[in-house]
Symmetry: C2
Subunit: 568 residues, 2 copies
Amino acid sequence: MAAFVPAVAAVGARSSAWTAPAATGASRLPTAAARSARASVPAGLTMAATKVGNVAEEKLKSADFDTKVFVKEQVNLADTSEYIVRGGRDVMTRLPKAFAGVKSVGVIGWGSQGPAQAQNLRDSFADFGVDAKVTIGLRAGSASEKAAMAQGFSHEDGTLGEMYDVIRQSDFVVLLISDGATAMCYKKVLDAMKPGSTLGLSHGFLLGHMDATGDTFRDDVNVILVAPKGMGPSVRRLYVQGKTQNGAGINCSFAVQQDATGTATDLAIGWAVAIGAPFSFQTTLRNEYRSDIYGERGILLGAVHGIVESLYRRYTFEGMSEEQAFVHSVESITGPISRTISKRGIKAVYDDLPDDAARATFAKAYTASYKPAFDIMIECYEDVECGNEIRSVINANLRYGRLPMGKIDGTRMWVVGKDVRAKRVEADIPVDPFTAGVYIATMMAQIDVLMEKGHVLSEIINESVIESVDSLNPYMHARGVAYMVDNCSITAASGSRKWAPRFDYNLTQQSYVAIDNGEALDAGLIDAFVNHKIHPAVVECAKLRPSVDIALSGSVADDAARSTMMSA
Amino acid sequence: MAAFVPAVAAVGARSSAWTAPAATGASRLPTAAARSARASVPAGLTMAATKVGNVAEEKLKSADFDTKVFVKEQVNLADTSEYIVRGGRDVMTRLPKAFAGVKSVGVIGWGSQGPAQAQNLRDSFADFGVDAKVTIGLRAGSASEKAAMAQGFSHEDGTLGEMYDVIRQSDFVVLLISDGATAMCYKKVLDAMKPGSTLGLSHGFLLGHMDATGDTFRDDVNVILVAPKGMGPSVRRLYVQGKTQNGAGINCSFAVQQDATGTATDLAIGWAVAIGAPFSFQTTLRNEYRSDIYGERGILLGAVHGIVESLYRRYTFEGMSEEQAFVHSVESITGPISRTISKRGIKAVYDDLPDDAARATFAKAYTASYKPAFDIMIECYEDVECGNEIRSVINANLRYGRLPMGKIDGTRMWVVGKDVRAKRVEADIPVDPFTAGVYIATMMAQIDVLMEKGHVLSEIINESVIESVDSLNPYMHARGVAYMVDNCSITAASGSRKWAPRFDYNLTQQSYVAIDNGEALDAGLIDAFVNHKIHPAVVECAKLRPSVDIALSGSVADDAARSTMMSA
């Protein structure tokens, strides 16, 4: 096998992707190197920041993996390459080998992911001869017992029990309770686990919490992650479709944090394949929680909310009717812009603009918005990286009993939106070039921060592009901003509330003011955009999309998801 | 001396002040006790929050003090009492005793507080026979050398030197460099200090940073704080006036974090008296940084900014002209509302309303705004308490070389404001009852959070009321929001940018929506407001105001302060 050094390749590539143009433009953001020379703090003194998981370490861990059971395939994304594993019914024949030694799987929690993963595992085990029992573990007296029983789990046959009892007897514990609850009870969970057993997580949040508090996992258990790129109900629905329709399913990232038994990697990939992932990408727990928590505060939820609030206000102030302002802000993003990005990549939105005037408007909006968006993006990333966001989420969880989260879609704009949606003719929704410029500048800023912080391209593209246009914007398109934000986890919904107004203010105070004042804008930023290496990589990643889109009901009656919380 | 147990008294009092009305109202915020019963996290599991300085510990430390040199006086604030020390020229005769053993004072830094405190100390020492030399310590090659020399400090007579040289030879090190720089170099500063010498701080930020990183002070030095309640130039100007005009000066809080020599309390009070504090109040370093960093993100800067943005938008949307909207939002708060609160307390604004209709408007705005404001206030406090804000500020400091803070007053609203100010007839500015309701609800929410968190009333009133109406709103009144926010420290200016939009969104999404939808509002909140124990305490504290107001130049030419940063 050829030597594989994506870390080095990507670092070089990153420079050329967006910091290199600084050499030709006047007002481009200076590089980190230039910054340290300018910083007013005494040289040689370092800040007390994250002491764990620096970029190079995390990148190295996610660069390659060994599998004895599955077949890894190399994909080339721009000037880097990564390994992925293809799933599907034919690959599931390998599951008995991947789960060798695992006789009991305890799925803890019955929220969004719990029902989906438990049922998918049970079905895959039965269909492909894995000799392991799937048991649901719940808090004593949990209101979810009935729901689990309705899906065929029962106390009588030992497939339903008290969570710590289940943990004590499981070879593989799949912990799918909420982030806040996980942070509260993880010590007790770890204490209850058998030596040599495996802890499975679908979000790196717990490691983030442990990083922030200086804790570590006991070293005699495996710790692995499989993070499906969609909410639980989709993980179940597409798995069922995948039984007959090749390639249906939800892609997953996977990670091995600790391999006590030497079998953790194949168990992680086996878990992803068993719940129906058509493709699995490697990451690390640390990079997963960083990119996930950051991404949902950014373009996935918070940033797109702040953007449309600021644009709606701007358009109505400029004299557009309220309905038209909603169409040119929200509808334009959640409709044609998202569809174009999903099918043909980010740059296609720009390439499709009808004339020079539209391209000039896009360029003006893009160049004025990129830096103010980047400013908030990097602040957000560094707040996640140093543990602040995790601590804030845990503190917020303790307050919600007393101070529940407020409603975000009661304002006039979202009332107007309801009417607009009712009258919508999908084909008539325009691509507003100003809106496209602001939205895409913010998306690119998110991407550039992740590249600067050393994430692999598959993760960057999933957390900044694919989840946005394929999974989340369709929710806002269907029923407004709260339907998108509040169908996500508490971690995501609280973070979106926190960061949306920051993007709004920075755009309003800086981008739009610069435009209205006719300030000279940095044309180099548009060159950097047009030539950005992410574009071919997005198109490449799109080839790894499942063959069936995440289904989204338009009806309120089917809105069970609202209370179950998705994994974004 | 009678037993003094303010901690118990205040906790009982707090309940009756605003949580008790919950018994008679339907939708009042439940108490913390009720919350823990309702919280969805498993009982008995505690969060990993601040491990240092809980409320009771901090309160006990700030409750009383022993002074061998000065006279402490008891002041009764509502149902609690505190001790204060009166300053002034006649008290300065005690300085030689307070500074006994201190032969060399090194003032490190020449920003806002440095020039003021160094000159005041030098003058007081000369006038009252303190046998100690004041020396300025600066980084080698500092651009501030010339400014220090212009005030009579020089290398030749040993009153100006390289900062670590000065620290090594000082008995008392007054460290007045920026928060970010302090966090970077404090280890080297501590290493350079003589055993038995004293570290003086004017902000508890450093302890906050050390709390967040798990560090502690070496135990063979004193660590004390004197925090003037005004920017450096005012500390100097009013000190000079105080030489001839009795009672002119800036009040200070003081604290003793470590008393290695047994003389730390009197040295702290002596320092406050020597720089001209007419009154000094005790706090702790921890409560100082918590209330200070929180307060400036709240009503002092961030909250008032978010409030006026949201109100201006609301009023223009409702059909007011842009100029009138500015008058009814910003001008109303920074003019008559602030003046009334300053002279006669918070409730006087309500009492002065002309008729029932105005009181009803106030009550509607107040009751709809209190809870959404409280929600952000307590999130902000807990982010300060757990170290998040400190970490964010330090991270932000490292980014500013590359990404400077953006301008906040380029938007249309603040351009309009400039015209409004130019035409202003002070006496014609109305008290808008809706604006008053929103502003005062937010101020009361800030006060209630500080009471819940166990701060003493003098500190609460200084950080929530006096600094707001006497020291900061006058800046916004003179030249707009940036003149207020960006004349403050980097810590304050970055925090205000972060929290202003949060208040704006919560008010816009919750308060104004509730009002516009005609939702039933909680009249009990107005009763709680009218009967709040803070009102007589504010009036009592107002008696301790210096006899001369902080002077504020209206002219741009005199705007040297802009680059020097005040201490708020």
